[in-house]
Amino acid sequence: MTTWREWTNRLQYLWRRARIDDDVEQEIHFHLEARIDELEASGLPRDAARRQAHHEFGSVNRARDDACAAWQFRWLEDAVADLRYALRTFRRGPGFVITAVLSLALGIGATSAIFTALDAVLWRPLPIGNADSLVLLSPAPAGLITRLRESGIFSDIIATSADGLSFSYDDRAERIVGEAVSPTYFTVLGVRPLIGQGFSPAVQQGEWAPEAVLSYGFWARRFGADPAVIGRTIRLNTVAFTIVGVSPPGFTGLTRGSDFELRVPLLPEGRQLPQMRLIATDGWVISAARLAPGVNRAQAEAAASAQLREFLRTTPVRRFRESGLRALRVRPGAHGRDEMLQPFHTTLYVLLILAATVLLIACTNVASLLLARATARERELAVRM
């Protein structure tokens, strides 16, 4: 039973070592003297009494060492001694330490910087709820999404489409890229707005209203991260929109490597807003979905492709009919769409290997420095040993 008390008692030893050692020493001395007195009183000569007392006591040195050892943390004291030795050596040759620390710092810094970049870009799943159950669909006509939603292949499906917009607020206009998304976009992805409510319940149920959710980056850049932006009016291609939320910092949508400035709800099918072609549900959209329970990805792909062919056969829109599209691909979506980053994959990996090599070289350098120093101090060490 090693209790807390035992540890604190031992810690005292680090400070009061001399006192405790001294206590033990004196106590043993007292014991022997007392025994000698007693034996002498019983008639033994002083010398014989001393021999007898020592015989009964056993080894004084061992008793003392064992008694003191009861207080020690061996490993801690060894570590402290090593640290002291290291500091002494540092004082003697700071140049060596600085060189070693700098080269290791450089290697570690470069490696972790590249690693962090690769992690953010390639490895980390999207910051959305339940990322593993998300699947991405290849581009499809917007009209198909409604059919897929009704088909029951997917438990949820959302469509997105991004384009340039002219944004104006506060009499200052700029060109931004906005994303038109299904009104249930944030709900399906499980992303809660940082501030504001997000798209209103009415909008989510299919009743369109001019609402916009800003991305965190755009909110910070254009609005100075002002929490009072909720409810303000902005203009997109001259249409007035109300800000209803700001998406959380880590969230940049489903497309890796892009961070669209804001998101607005897609119009219900058949409706048009002449100033904003983007939000009309009549073009090509990129969609993401969650598979219905009991449906696997291959089944979903086959069923969705069948729906697509059926849609293409009956659609009145010529550009869809003549697109030559035959199948819809359904692939895992935990890492989002990274088509934009695909060209850089090799470059990023090469950089990582390069940085790792730099670290390796740094380690080799430090190792040879240590070796050189050890050679120079051969004599000193031999004496120390």
């Binding site: 035992e6 206590d23 007392a34 004084v60 061992r62 008694a67 003191c68 050892a69 009861a70 207080w71």
Partner: protein, 111 residues
């Protein structure tokens, strides 16, 4: 206390002896040694020296407290007394020891 010293002792017996001895009141190390020797009528061959490592281990565990005082023959001596933890330890050690003895007796009778 090396294994050779206490091969006759069950583990922890020395602790138990010290705790039991000190339950009558504070004592210095030499008196503890003498009491143990008397009480066991020289039957236990404990070298006096092995008492001190045990006492220090018990100080670390917090079962004992020690302070310097004056012995009966006017020498500076270190007096030990039981702490509250020490009393608890003694009570539980006695219980354990009795259970052990009972079990051993049971085995001796039945086999």
């Amino acid at each position: 206390m090396s294994p050779a010293d206490d091969f006759q002792l069950l583990p922890g017996t020395l602790y138990l002896l010290v705790l039991r001895t000190l339950s009558n009141g504070p004592m210095h190390g030499y008196a503890i040694a003498r009491r143990i020797r008397d009480a066991s009528a020289n039957g236990l061959d404990i070298q006096d020296g092995s008492l001190y490592p045990a006492l220090n281990r018990m100080l670390v565990k917090g079962w004992l407290a020690a302070e310097w005082g004056i012995s009966e023959n006017n020498r500076r001596a270190r007096f030990y007394r039981l702490t509250r933890d020490g009393r608890k330890q003694l009570a539980s050690a006695i219980r354990e020891f009795e259970t052990l003895v009972r079990n051993v007796q049971l085995v001796m009778r039945t086999v």
